[in-house]
């Protein structure tokens, strides 16, 4: 079966399902992608790309890329920021995932749930929490530290490159952790056991066996982390700009917020073009590194059980390490968030709790749009996560298991989807459904479709999951007379369930936090919580915005634990 699944094995049903997957993927991604290219190459700037008067032009691309500052400052800053954040993220996330999934660390489920908490909070609120904690003059931790060490400012300053890198890493670690833990959880330990029994030390086993076998499962999260860090703009705007750091993603924001007139979508799209280039480059590297896919098969017909290393004398250092991380990355920001929700922006003082009030929660809950926003958010996040996970697994199966012509193109389209800025995707969806005779504009259904364009996460996770499964399992099923759909339902899906659960959880959480698409495509009827939070935030009601974020954390925290149980 090294040449891929045959048409005979697939049958008509299989072919129809796979074609439907490809059509759905193209439908979800092509509109934003086409608008991105159209906008980048149509001018002038005071015309929308589809308006009369707009013509094909290199105006936007020239404006952006003929600017020397782009290469002198922006490219350098972006490189430092992305590489720094991803390096820190990867080391921390891998260590945490390994400790939780492959060792006998105590309270693993609790640790798993707590690691995911920062991911539940919209990044704007997390950044405010970090500023509240580490602001050089009045940050709560700095004030507390100065009480001990003295001084008038600092000792920590969040408004620096290291500050930005650490904050971004803290935001990305849960995302990366979730992906890596799925990979580590599904790894067959037989090879490690053999290595250990041959007398290899744990370090040698890790370097020669674990690391080598896990390559697809590690490279995919690494690639996604690079792409996500590249397109992040909340933290660079809040923390990077004060530090004099200028990255590509913040330029998109500047172009969309001109002094007067229309947002310059063309220039924003031109700035986003390198994101696509980076996506294609990373995919090419990834494909080269994992081109001998059979090397990474760890789940075969022989079955396996999960092996956990005993930490022994490393038990307490590991516990201290993990809980120190949780304290800084989860507990402190949540305390800052809850604090903001009950005392607003009040400075740290012994009397601040005297002014504590639950008014912000009352205001939010009494808001006539709140109940509808909660329901809409759950529906949109759930359905979009299901759609993207389903389409993603079909695409991944096509790429890994077939030799269909054009599968690389489908793979590229799915990967570059993560580089399309939300606002461009929102505009494309708006144009599409205003023009098409499908009456979903202004409803929650347009949000479900709009949220479903980021296929990269699902295809990467599913692809690395599939690469760990030996083809002989599917082949044996086919030889036994099972139809393709039966093999997929009874063999493949159960084995990649951890990957699917991870994909669903990630996309569900992204859907819960999303607000840009909700803003662009919003109406009174399809209000979602992210938009509601953003509006409170923009109107200066920090306590109310923090109250929504706190409620999100409390209500969504069990999602990670449920997913862990479902995937186990």
């Amino acid at each position: 079966m090294t040449s891929g699944a045959s048409a005979g094995e697939l049958g008509w049903g299989g072919r129809v399902v796979l074609i439907a997957g490809v059509v759905a993927a193209l439908a979800l991604v092509s509109a934003p992608l086409l608008l991105l290219f159209t906008a980048a190459f149509r001018g002038p700037g005071d015309r929308l790309p589809f308006e009369p008067g707009a013509v094909w032009s290199l105006e936007h691309v020239r404006t952006i890329f003929e600017n020397a500052a782009l290469y002198q400052h922006t490219a350098r800053d972006t490189l430092l920021f992305v590489c720094g954040a991803v390096a820190v993220t990867f080391v921390v996330a891998f260590a945490l995932a390994w400790l939780v999934e492959r060792t006998d660390l105590p309270a693993r489920s609790t640790v798993f749930g707590l690691i995911l908490v920062p991911m539940l909070v919209p990044t704007v609120m997390i950044s405010i929490a970090w500023i509240q904690l580490f602001g050089p003059n009045a940050g709560w931790l700095n004030v507390a530290l100065r009480a001990v060490v003295g001084g008038v400012s600092g000792p920590m300053n969040i408004f620096t490159l290291p500050g930005l890198v650490v904050c971004q890493a803290a935001v990305l670690v849960p995302f990366e952790f979730l992906l890596l833990s799925a990979t580590l959880r599904t790894m067959n330990p037989a090879l490690e056991e053999a290595s250990t029994m041959s007398g290899a030390s744990p370090l040698v086993t890790f370097r020669r066996i674990t690391w080598a076998v896990l390559q697809p499962g590690i490279l995919a999260p690494l690639m996604l982390a690079l792409l996500v860090a590249f397109e992040q703009f909340d933290l660079p705007l809040m923390i990077g700009v004060p530090a004099g750091i200028d990255v590509f993603s913040t330029r998109i924001f500047y172009e969309l917020n001109p002094d007067s007139g229309l947002p310059v979508y063309g220039r924003a799209a031109a700035v986003a073009l390198p994101f696509l280039g980076v996506g294609v480059a990373l995919l090419t590297i990834y494909n080269r590194l994992v081109r001998h896919a059979d090397r990474y098969v760890t789940i075969t017909s022989r079955g396996y059980r999960v092996l956990r290393y005993s930490l022994r004398r490393w038990r307490w250092p590991a516990i201290v390490l993990v809980w120190s991380y949780l304290c800084v990355a989860t507990v402190l920001p949540v305390i800052a968030l809850v604090g903001t929700s009950i005392v607003g922006n009040a400075p740290l003082s012994t009397s601040m709790l005297q002014h504590a009030t639950l008014d912000a929660y009352r205001t939010v809950i009494a808001d006539p749009t709140f109940a509808r926003a909660v329901a809409n958010t759950i529906v949109v996040a759930t359905l979009s996560a299901i759609v993207v996970t389903a389409v993603g697994v079909l695409l991944a199966w096509i790429v890994v298991r077939t030799r269909v012509v054009g599968r690389t193109l489908v793979d590229i389209i799915s990967v570059v989807s993560i580089g399309i800025p939300s606002v461009i995707a929102g505009l494309a969806t708006m144009i599409l459904y205003l023009s098409a005779p499908i009456p979903i504009y202004g409803t929650i259904w347009i949000l479900v479709l709009a949220y479903s364009y980021r296929l990269a996460v699902s295809t990467r996770i599913s692809r690395s999951g599939l690469m760990q499964i030996g083809r002989e399992l599917e082949h044996a099923s086919a030889v036994s007379g099972a139809r393709w759909s039966t093999t997929i339902r009874r063999i493949v899906l159960p084995l990649i369930a951890p990957s699917l659960a991870t994909s669903f959880v990630l996309l569900f959480i992204v859907g819960i936090r999303e607000f840009t698409l909700g803003m662009v495509l919003g109406s009174r009827d399809n209000m979602v919580l992210g938009v509601m939070l953003w509006r409170f935030f923009e109107d200066g009601h920090a306590a109310e915005a923090a109250a929504i974020a706190t409620m999100l954390v409390v209500s969504m925290a069990p999602v990670g634990l449920v997913a862990r149980r479902a995937a186990a």
């Binding site: 500052a69 700009v241 979508y265 922006n345 144009i431």
Partner: protein, 340 residues
């Protein structure tokens, strides 16, 4: 006495005009209200919740029977253009910055209603008769009144370059370049660029998208450069120890209301757009949201306070909009670290 009859006739005509014109206005307004009421609702779009969320209740007090459905979105102008291109028409009234509304004027998507039936001064009708001025957002400095004594306050924009403010200033990445664009109209671009560099490099002003009110409240920084006076009044009303101080030159961004062509509720659209520019609506806006009209002839409390402060207000106008936008474009590169 050949001139006496003519004088008498003039007086009679003037007297009649003062009686008849308001009555004619009232009649026209009543007729418009009757037609608007038959439409039952009106759809209003603006940029931010706080700018428009007060309108349904106040409008209903003045014109019962018409429901205002509103939505706030910074991309409201793009949405309007896109909807019209697609032949869909869902918005009736736009209440936005006049700079933001220019693309709608260029595309002839705004009506030119008869503003006179609302008693609106001709000087307050903008953008080729399509838009009526509703309010201004005035730039000045905002400070933590617990941490800065009034005697220490900077009196001019240049005072902010004093060494004592180093490391104590914050500014919005969104608003500071806009302020600089206005100042450049007064000072010229070279002087303003030097001023911006001094603020950023020498004074280490913290330029951010994070909420400045929180930074002022906590004492992370003590003076915010180029904030809106209305924001300061709002923050103070929320219990924060912040207030504003006047500057010798205070730019004022201009906002307006307009009825959209092919509005689904055309009469209600004209009624709401016109009412938003009346003194009654302006007073309600200032009372509820602190956003005030400071144009010449305004009766707002803020206009009076600005007048008392001795500061000069530079109004955003069509005549200076394009020049200022170009200055903004160049100066914003300094603020956002793109040019160093």
């Amino acid at each position: 006495m050949p001139k006496a009859p003519a004088f008498t006739v003039l007086c009679v005509f003037t007297a009649l005009a003062t009686i008849v014109e308001p009555r004619a206005q009232t009649n026209a307004l009543d007729a418009l209200y009757a037609k608007a009421k038959a439409e039952e609702q009106v759809v209003l779009w603006g940029a931010q919740d706080r700018e428009i969320d007060w309108i349904p209740a106040e409008f209903a007090k003045r014109f019962p029977g018409i429901t205002v459905n509103w939505a706030a979105d910074r991309a409201a102008i793009t949405k309007t253009i896109t909807e019209h291109r697609a032949g869909r028409y869902s918005v009736d009234v736009i209440n936005f910055s006049v700079g933001g509304m220019l693309p709608l004027v260029d595309r002839r998507l705004l009506e030119k209603p008869d503003w006179s039936i609302f008693g609106i001064d001709g000087r307050d009708v903008l953008l080729d008769g399509t838009t009526a001025a509703t309010h201004n957002l005035v730039y000045s400095i905002v400070y933590n009144e617990k941490l800065v004594a009034p005697s220490d306050l900077p009196r001019t924009w240049e005072d902010l370059l004093d060494a004592k403010w180093k490391g104590k200033l914050v500014a919005s990445q969104f608003l500071l370049p806009r302020l600089l664009g206005f100042l450049a109209l007064e000072w010229g671009e070279p002087k303003t660029a030097d001023y911006a560099r001094a603020l950023l490099q020498r004074q280490d002003v913290l330029v951010t998208r994070a909420p400045r009110e929180g930074m002022l409240h906590r004492g992370e920084r003590v003076v915010a450069v180029g904030e809106f006076v209305a924001s300061a009044i709002q923050w103070k009303s929320m219990g924060m120890p912040v207030t504003w101080a006047p500057m010798p030159v205070m730019p004022a961004a201009q906002f307006g209301a307009a009825a959209v062509v092919r509005a689904p509720h055309p009469h209600a659209a004209r009624l709401l757009a016109g009412w938003l520019a009346t003194n009654e609506a302006k007073a309600a806006r200032e009372r509820l949201r602190f956003d005030a009209d400071v144009r010449p002839g305004s009766r707002s409390a803020l206009a009076a306070a600005l007048s008392r402060s001795g500061g000069r207000v530079i109004l955003e106008d069509v005549s200076n909009m394009k020049a200022r936008a170009a200055l903004y474009e160049r100066l914003s590169t300094l603020v956002t670290a793109r040019a160093r």
